[in-house]
Symmetry: C2
Subunit: 485 residues, 2 copies
Amino acid sequence: MQTNNVAQVNVLTLETMNQNVRQVEYAVRGPMVLRAVQIEEELKKGVKKPFTEVIKANVGDAHAMGQKPITFIRQVLALCAYPALLEDDKFPEDAKLRARRILDGCGGQSIGAYSASQGIECIRKDVASYIEKRDGGIPSNHENIYLSTGASDAIVTMLKLLICGEGRTRTGVMISIPQYPLYSAALTELQGVQINYYLDEDKCWGLDVGELRRSLTAAREHCNPRALCIINPGNPTGQVQSRQCIEDVIRFAKEEGLLLMADEVYQDNVYAEGCVFHSFKKVLFEMGPEFSSVVELVSFHSTSKCYMGECGFRGGYMEVVNLDPEVKAQLTKLVSVRLCSPVSGQALMDVVVNPPQPGEPSYATFTKERAAVLADLAEKAKLTEESFNNVPGFHCNPVQGAMYTFPRITIPQKAIDQAAGQAPDQMYCMKLLETTGICLVPGSGFGQREGTFHFRMTILPPKEKLKYVLEKIAEFNAQFLQDYS
Amino acid sequence: MQTNNVAQVNVLTLETMNQNVRQVEYAVRGPMVLRAVQIEEELKKGVKKPFTEVIKANVGDAHAMGQKPITFIRQVLALCAYPALLEDDKFPEDAKLRARRILDGCGGQSIGAYSASQGIECIRKDVASYIEKRDGGIPSNHENIYLSTGASDAIVTMLKLLICGEGRTRTGVMISIPQYPLYSAALTELQGVQINYYLDEDKCWGLDVGELRRSLTAAREHCNPRALCIINPGNPTGQVQSRQCIEDVIRFAKEEGLLLMADEVYQDNVYAEGCVFHSFKKVLFEMGPEFSSVVELVSFHSTSKCYMGECGFRGGYMEVVNLDPEVKAQLTKLVSVRLCSPVSGQALMDVVVNPPQPGEPSYATFTKERAAVLADLAEKAKLTEESFNNVPGFHCNPVQGAMYTFPRITIPQKAIDQAAGQAPDQMYCMKLLETTGICLVPGSGFGQREGTFHFRMTILPPKEKLKYVLEKIAEFNAQFLQDYS
Ligand SMILES: Cc1ncc(COP(=O)(O)O)c(C=O)c1O
Ligand SMILES: Cc1ncc(COP(=O)(O)O)c(C=O)c1O
């Protein structure tokens, strides 16, 4: 027993906490964002700045940037939350139909009941039908669908299932560089070995199997690589993979005995001419049973992106293919410890996979709203690329898909020398924030080839604001180059 | 590279998956529930059974058992989901006020935007006010509030922060036996050392500091005990801790240098005369600065229980007290990796902590609905206790609070001998399920003193159904005792 004279020390300190957690880095909500929030407070208090508002172009959060929710989605959610509205004439019949179906799938007909751990069965069936339709008829079984708390949750859950072993047998997971930092953060926390493969900036952030092989071979020296993660369309890089490339990746995964994790949360966000979204599931099955019966594939989707941008509801699903049935049982057990994913997020996912059909009263409005969002994004993708490629020192690949641009920027040696402890692109972004109120994420938060510098910016601000942002960045960049030349 | 002739083996198998996950046990949604679901399917297909429906008294899920949502809560949620309703006269002004305030706290005024990782600021402020009021004015700071995906998420997050070390320095966490199996499951997954302390069934499941000390001393031989978890009111045991007992626990935690985790999700569920809910936070501060300035305390709340029973929304919060500021920063970083908890759950939590006030239009209805739910639960608590104490071989403590009864049952030696690999109370519950359709959780899923047997049953079924359940269990028990005498 401690005596009371001993000065009490905290049980939990930086030194005594879980060091794996301590090592986690997460740039998307890191120091830039903390400073952005401070600046907002300062502005509110009347502190004078060379700008009047902070523009958060750091997070892929469409509604926060002013995008309006899709009417039909929110009607169904309101009906589910408050079923008395089912008697209200102002709500269209097809919305009521969806709501009734969802409520019928809920315990006690309430979205306030816990669902089955894997998710509400009728919603998983709707997800499976959606996947079948999307993939031209390739079958999908609702027993392979797990509804999740956003895609984040499903991705972390799969990594948790995978990662084990010690030292040289420790599980390694291949991720693209640049990457979405959820992957590196989860790997650090779970102590998986992060295996980097680099996307080719000069080939429009393309994925090359030669690079996969190089990276895998090197990793085999020190760990046990077991999974390969792909983000398509890419975040932060905005590329859309060709069918050929996906085939090559699948072939590689089979040859090398890797489980594939396909992050397809941007599957509706394809803008560039000639680019089409191909799901890994579809390509896998089109390659024939030699592949489709053996390669383990987990693909992820979310309500947060695409045309709906419903991030706050934390809806998502994963589909598991060729997972060992015993492992699937373990997965189900694991997710049941946290009871279930948010039922309102599950309901939202249901509307996404089962939208109004031709002939239904909401079809026209729904279709118009969806098309408007996607057309606007496509226009902004083009605008951003063109504008950045006119900035001296910038090189910007086309934003073929997703919601981001990741231009390469030039940082003069003098600036690099003066960045001190900071990553040079972090210093660049911080100065931009202080000068213009524009909040971006430095490329170092995603990973980039040594000696190159980037930032990630979302294309989500409304067009007029985006134009302002693009101008301000160009101005700032000119001044920056001059200051450090 | 593997050659194509080698028979392809799955990457992920029972043997090659994370063995910590494999070892996790979770009885509340375990084999009993899987069988219950099967039986439901069989009934649907017309298979003849000695009963017509499965009654799931295994999960604390009020709405699934027919409890109706509180009108005001759902009105606010519908308004948040579909703000066009703010123009609708059918919704009361106080509900609109709440909805506007929540929407003002959201990015782009939409609950479809990600929130700050810690949760929406104005909701955290409302939570802090609620705590202050609940605790008779003891201050609460919204910077210490973290909104979470149900209490489950917050509990696991805290354990994740805590658990580290190897061998004898591995973090140990004290939990009550019987326990809520989230704790054992999380400890297994995170490889923390589970330290059992036993509640005293003969003293109404009371917590005794002598037993805490015994358990801690024994644990110090093989691990590094750093935290003490308490569930009050208790699940599965239904006791409500006295103020004195809480003081003793706090004193013990201080003396022994333990961080306290107080699971107070049932804080409104107190039924027995003479019992009052005291929060650990309040007692800690009433004990004076010698305690309130040093003891690290994390307390948890949820939207899932109490009078609202809104499990599906996955709302919750934790309040951290005396946490090292650097650790708090780490906690904030950790939760930011998953972006944020569901905003609809955050909104629901806001209504819970900021309900209609006297003078507001919804006050009367809200108060009536809440009182009706709690009165009904109190009546069912009493009914259950009395009924079970009339069953030969049962011993049932009063259900002072929470939503469960955990009677001790008698299992004849012959039945124990025939249970084979199964836990005897699992065999008992399985037979009950097959005979009556009633789904309970065996005591072995929660932990119990060697040689004693229990089951957990919720008191949530509607009164008439509960009466039926109590009768059926009594009948089944008589037959069981006879069969194995
Ligand atoms: C590539 C990628 N995967 C997953 C996620 C996680 O999204 P959520 O958890 O909101 O579904 C994001 C979010 O930005 C993302 O960009
Ligand atoms: C004691 C206790 N803690 C925590 C929880 C988790 O509840 P939730 O995650 O739904 O908030 C429960 C649920 O039954 C519980 O009984």
